[in-house]
Symmetry: C2
Subunit: 154 residues, 2 copies
DNA sequence: ATACATGCAAACATTTTGCTTTGGC
DNA sequence: GCCAAAGCAAAATGTTTGCATGTAT
């Protein structure tokens, strides 16, 4: 059972066209099902489980993609760097569109599950470079989640 | 299949006694199996899966706790704040002892799986307070993982 | 002696795969 | 028409639970 994620606004600057273009460039075909999946991801305000994506894709295209289709499509998109996993420390994995111009740090309420995207100047950017140098790692990325209790929860 | 985690040194300052004390104070009984589980966690240099804990507990006590026992014991310890989950973005959950005096940020090689514990002054501490104020959240904690390619991987 | 802890095995949830059919190009 | 994508259903994996038995207190 996947926890239902509540949302907080966040505008999207990646377009359906651009994303589709990347997929095509990689030799993947654009289908109605994939359009729905991509739209679901583009319009999400917080990370989505595969089930979430499946339901929302249906809203967009009136076609419900099979769960395996969502799984494979999202997997392919992940390989292309178009989406990334987000760990909300729950029983299933969540995904989010990767817009290279943005940061994806989250603030999660331990009580109600609300997820807030913290799209502020990243406090990590500098540390990341230092760490890369210090430990000899390359191509660093990070995943940062804050957990706490939101103002409306006890 | 749980990915095998390689390790990097990290001294432990929590003791078996102290941990056992906390468990007893919570009304839990100290058994040989639990000693092994706690020792496995205390001596780990990086996050352990439940299977890892099971195997290492056996090394310590010559008694192999059942997987369900490890599951329940670690779960109980988590509720008491003695351990916490670590998301290495793999198929299973990893756990780590929670020493309140330490930070638990990790650096993970995407290629070989090596996990390095970055036990340096936390780059987040300040941001955490700001975020708490700004979003009205309380009791914040965070989980920070860096992913990259280590010096020995292509 | 009494509860709590354990082991065993089954139930569950989620992820992943194989294979046939459908549909984009 | 060809080959990738989708659907269906089964397998695989990891997590969680129920219950009878063992054991710390």
């Amino acid at each position: 059972m996947c926890f239902q994620v509540r949302m907080t606004p966040h505008e999207t600057s990646l377009t359906l066209e651009k994303t589709a273009e990347t997929l095509r460039a990689a030799g993947l075909r654009m289908t109605k099902k994939r359009f729905g999946i991509i739209q679901a991801l583009l319009e999400a305000n917080s990370p989505l489980s595969l089930q979430d994506i499946q339901s929302r894709a249906e809203v967009h295209t009136s076609l419900r993609p099979d769960y395996a289709t969502v799984f494979r499509t999202v997997g392919a998109m992940e390989k292309l760097g178009l989406v990334h996993k987000v760990s909300l420390q729950r029983s299933c994995t969540y995904y989010e569109i990767s817009d290279p111009r943005k940061h994806y740090d989250h603030l999660v309420c331990r009580q109600c599950g609300q997820v807030v995207l913290i799209d502020i100047p990243c406090p990590i950017g500098e540390a990341e470079k230092t760490i890369a140098r210090q430990y000899g790692f390359r191509e660093l990325s990070h995943s940062l989640e804050f957990f706490g209790l939101c103002s409306t929860c006890p």
